[in-house]
């Protein structure tokens, strides 16, 4: 057995080496192609040597097909090296495909001797012969027909069924029962056996070997063969408890379709029974199975790991000793030491998982070349920052979304050469992939100099697909419209191509990136290309997470999905929450976000009593935000993510688990999963916001105003969106410099203006608490001197351009302080519930009340302006009408 193990180790080493060779071959071959007839000998030699060493090892390990194919590629490369053959794109294509096949064979080397490589060999032979028959050429360029090997000789089951069965981390086994030996001779019945199987899994399919029973004329058969395809959560080690047959007759069907017996080769008698079993049963799988099992490490990294392990031992010794001596100080310093070493260890171990992104980038030159060729486009790929390192898991997860995006860039971004020249661009388009470190994150940028994205086109595609309403789009900024491309089904392509344009691209990209904790932004415009920016965390293994608790259990929520923590005192509850349809929503700075009670999601009763406040964690699923209501909020801690067990994989509420400082296990919530299960969607929010819009539609356009005071009796307001900051000031802080007021603000001098400088209004007095409202004007801050109290109102703006018009004041007479009088305060206050505020009676009352104030302020303005007669007239006219209609309404 030890010999076998040795062989195995050598073989693994050989395979790892092959993979390394293959990783660089693609780039080299592409460079050779670019060189054309001018051969760069070093490059060709490099590829040649790679093919040669693959061939050598294959011979040693008796991998015949692998050897043959490697030999053929080697011969073709030899011709290129000696200048007898020009590396035309055609020749390089064949070589690339041959190396692809080699990679596939290596990925599944045990099955490789049964693989079909004839077409590659003949293509390479023809290539070497200098002529390539047309028929064979086409057979090469076609997709190599590879079927998923789910079918053995007997059992046929569709790939779909198999995939369904695999959901929830189940294993699929092919079990061969002999009804006589495995069942009857063990004093049981088939019925008992099947019942046992069905308790622990599902029988997908069975096939009875009718021939094995013989006819009535034959001797009673002592072998009745039944094949059972069985899906269960039990892993091979535990299967024995349920399936009582020799392990060599139980096979595990792996995800890639490979079939692996649980024990050594099938012994002779069984082989005789099923003669076809020895025939090639599994077609080679389409993909190279599994990830790499080994990685290369820098020796210095390994050394520092060793040093730290030593330190850890010393720390432990110190702790043990101090504990034995009950030496508090010793325990303290020991703990400190251990914690120091741990964080260093954490850092170094994280580094070992770091891989340069170049490995991922290297597959794109080929992709761009092949795509460009297929689409008749001339595209160059520029790679930058390949040395940037990122966690292995993230790197693997990035492969798909990046491929999609590069594909999109070539297919949709880069125009055809003729079109490019017509627009005055170089005929050859450039796609740039760039990685860099920024603020503890990895940023990957994908840009192209193609035709760019038109925000309008995206928006209209989204409207056409019914994903969003025209009204919603009208209020959107360019950037928001651009972001609609991440909604499922949105596409800007005029026609669907083989490559992309079916509108399944960007939303999948986004989902994949969300899973990695990444964020994506777009910057693009018609004619100026597209620029995508992906921000990714360095690692997923250790992440900061706030802890929350509900129903007596603690949960972690990854920091990346947490927007903010909000605590709403019970007194404000009615004011800040509302119901839209059957969903609860929370008002967060004039945005409505749906609320989800964690206790509901978990199915534990909500805690009613003693809740002094509602604790809300505002989380972002990537697609939308919602508020997760939890019982308690705790600290933020760094957690180590542990994956959930196989058969818990189906629980989409949790992203994993972690162990807390006190040894308890806490589950990590998957905020997107929770939302999906609670059927919470962006639609809920939009419904809410839409109703809000309808509300305001009745009363004119709604605006948020910051209300402040000037001189004591004067109430003024500014639109809140223009305000960048509000600062309290003491009169002493205001400096007079050359007739202008300034103050020190953020280390610079801030010019101050006051309303009475320009408008005919009073001056704030020294008794009032002064504030400075800071605006951003032409890129510079500007302060407006004002006085407290401050308030925020949301009002319908009816602009009155007649009554009050003077410099410095936009004629907005509508801040008629109708929420400042006592009645108004009640009217707008929290005592009236959200539901009541929706009633027509309330709306009517509010409208009348507003009219009353408007008329009152008109009278006051006229009186102040000295227009006595007009004031009298208004008082007895419009004002009295408004006032009496309000009174009538109030009485009712």
């Amino acid at each position: 057995m030890s010999d076998y193990g040795m062989d195995d180790e050598l073989e693994q080493e050989y395979l790892a080496e092959c993979r390394e060779h293959l990783a660089t071959i693609e780039t080299d071959l592409l460079a050779i192609e670019r060189g054309g007839a001018e051969i760069e000998e070093q490059l060709v030699n490099h590829v040649f040597r790679a093919a040669h060493s693959i061939k050598g090892g294959a011979g040693f390990f008796d991998l015949a097909k692998l050897r043959e194919l490697a030999h053929k590629t080697e011969s073709a490369l030899d011709l290129i090296r000696s200048g007898q053959m020009v590396p035309t794109p055609e020749a390089v294509s064949i070589l690339l495909m041959a190396f692809d096949k080699l990679r596939e064979l290596i990925g599944n080397h045990r099955e490789s001797n049964g693989a079909e490589i004839g077409e590659f060999v003949s293509a390479l032979t023809a290539l070497a012969a200098g002529s390539l028959p047309e028929a064979e050429k086409s057979s090469l360029t076609e997709q190599v027909g590879v079927e998923v090997a789910d079918a053995t000789r007997h059992i046929q089951v569709s790939a779909f069924d198999l995939n369904q069965a695999r959901k929830g981390g189940k294993c699929v086994y092919l079990i061969e029962y002999d009804l006589i030996h495995d069942i009857e001779r063990r004093n049981t019945t088939p019925w008992e056996v099947f019942k046992g199987l069905m308790q622990c899994g599902t029988i997908l399919e069975t096939v009875f070997d009718l021939e094995s029973a013989g006819t009535l004329d034959d001797e009673p058969s002592n072998k009745l063969m039944l094949e059972v395809l069985y899906a269960t959560v039990l892993e091979p080690d535990y299967l024995k408890g349920v399936v009582d047959v020799p392990p060599q007759r139980v096979r595990l069907i792996e995800k890639n379709g490979a079939i692996r017996p649980l024990a050594g080769p099938v012994p002779e008698p069984a082989a005789q029974l099923n003669p076809a079993e020895s025939a090639p049963k599994a077609v080679a799988p389409a993909t190279v199975p599994g990830g790499e099992t080994t990685i290369r490490l820098n020796v210095t990294l390994l050394d520092s790991l060793m040093t730290l392990a030593g330190e850890l031992v010393l720390g432990r010794n110190q702790l043990n000793e101090s504990l034995a001596r009950r030496d508090d100080r010793g325990i303290h310093s020991g703990a400190q030491r251990v914690s120091l070493v741990t964080s260093e260890l954490q850092e170094i171990v994280t580094q070992t998982r770091m891989q340069p992104i170049a490995g991922l980038f290297s597959k794109f030159p080929r992709l761009v070349r092949d795509l460009g060729g297929d689409l008749g486009k001339d595209a160059q790929l520029k790679l930058e920052g390949g040395e940037v390192e990122i966690d292995k898991t993230i790197l693997e997860g990035l492969s798909d979304p990046l491929t999609d995006m590069v594909r999109n860039a070539v297919d949709h971004g880069i125009e055809l050469p003729a079109e490019r020249t017509a627009r005055g661009k170089p005929a050859s388009g450039t796609v740039t992939l760039k990685a860099s470190h920024q603020a503890g994150q990895v940023v990957i940028e994908i840009s192209d100099d193609g035709k760019g994205l038109a925000a309008e086109k995206i928006a209209s595609s989204a409207i056409a697909k019914g994903l969003i309403s025209r009204e919603q789009v009208q209020g959107m900024s360019e950037r928001e419209k651009m972001a609609l491309i991440f909604l499922p089904g949105v596409s800007t392509a005029d026609k669907v191509s083989d490559v992309s344009g079916r509108g399944v691209g960007m939303d999948v990209v986004k989902t994949n990136l969300d899973r990695l904790g990444g964020k994506i932004e777009i910057d693009s415009g018609p004619g100026r290309g597209s620029h995508f920016r992906i921000k990714l965390p360095l690692t997923l293994a250790i992440i900061p997470s706030p802890l929350v608790s509900d129903g007596g259990e603690r949960f972690a929520i990854p920091q990346v999905s947490v927007g903010e923590l909000i605590r709403i005192p019970v007194a404000q509850l009615a004011e800040r929450t509302d119901r839209v349809g059957d969903a609860e929503v929370l008002n967060v700075r004039d945005r409505l976000v749906p609320l989800l009670h964690l206790s509901d999601a978990l199915g534990v009763p909500r805690r009613k009593s003693a809740a002094k406040a509602l604790n809300v964690v505002l989380v972002d699923t990537g697609a939308f935000e919602y508020g997760l209501v939890v019982e308690e909020l705790h600290d933020t801690v760094e957690i180590v993510v542990k994956p959930l067990g196989r058969h818990m994989k189906g629980l989409h509420d949790y992203a994993g688990a972690t162990i807390l400082g006190d040894g308890h296990v806490a589950l990590i919530l998957d905020v997107a999963g929770l939302a999906t299960r609670a059927k919470l969607t962006a639609g809920t929010v939009e419904a809410g916001n839409r109703r809000e819009a309808e509300d305001s539609g009745a009363a004119g356009e709604m605006h948020s105003l910051l209300v402040f005071h000037n001189a004591p009796p004067e109430t003024c307001a500014v639109p809140i969106e223009q305000v960048s900051r509000i600062e309290r000031v003491r009169p002493a802080q205001i400096l007079q410099l050359g007739g202008r007021r300034t103050m020190q603000y953020c280390g610079a001098s801030l010019p101050l203006v006051a309303l009475h400088d320009t408008a005919a209004v009073g001056e704030p007095t020294a008794e009032q608490q002064l504030v400075v409202i800071v605006f951003e004007r032409l890129g510079r801050p500007l302060g407006l001197l004002a006085a407290e109290p401050l308030d925020m109102v949301e009002v319908a703006l009816n602009i009155d351009a007649v009554t009050l018009r003077q410099r410095g004041i936009v004629p907005i007479a509508t801040v008629r302080a109708d929420n400042q009088c006592n009645f108004g305060k009640w009217l707008y206050g929290p005592e009236i519930s959200g539901g009541e505020k929706q009633t027509p009676q309330y709306q009517d009352l509010r409208q009348r009340h507003a009219e009353f104030h408007e008329q009152a302020s008109k009278v006051a303005q006229l009186a102040m302006a000295g227009q006595r007669e007009a004031a009298d007239k208004a008082l007895s006219g419009d004002f009295s009408v408004a006032s009496s209609s309000l009174m009538t309404l109030c009485r009712n």
């Binding site: 009804l179 088939p190 019925w191 029988i203 009718l210 009535l216 009673p220 009745l224």
Partner: protein, 102 residues
Amino acid sequence: MIQVSRLDNRAIVRPDGMEMVAGSIPELRVAMRGMIEEGVRELVVDLTDVRMVDSSGIGLLISAYNSLRKAGGHLAVIHASPDIRELFRTMRIHQHFSVSGN
């Protein structure tokens, strides 16, 4: 005992033991073989009394099916208990000959 009723080339076999297991198989086997030799082409096995079928029992039914198929006949199982029907369905035997209940 085995009850047999015959009509031309059609026969109904009704094993009366509670179990169709290894011990009772040889007798049934001989009886069935005899019937097919005598020209029976439609063999119906009535499982009214049978509560359990074991591996040998299944083997016997399959052998009978194979023999009948060679001779150009059919096999049917009637009055099978729910458990037995479920077993036959699980083993996909019912795809080869008809299995019906009460």
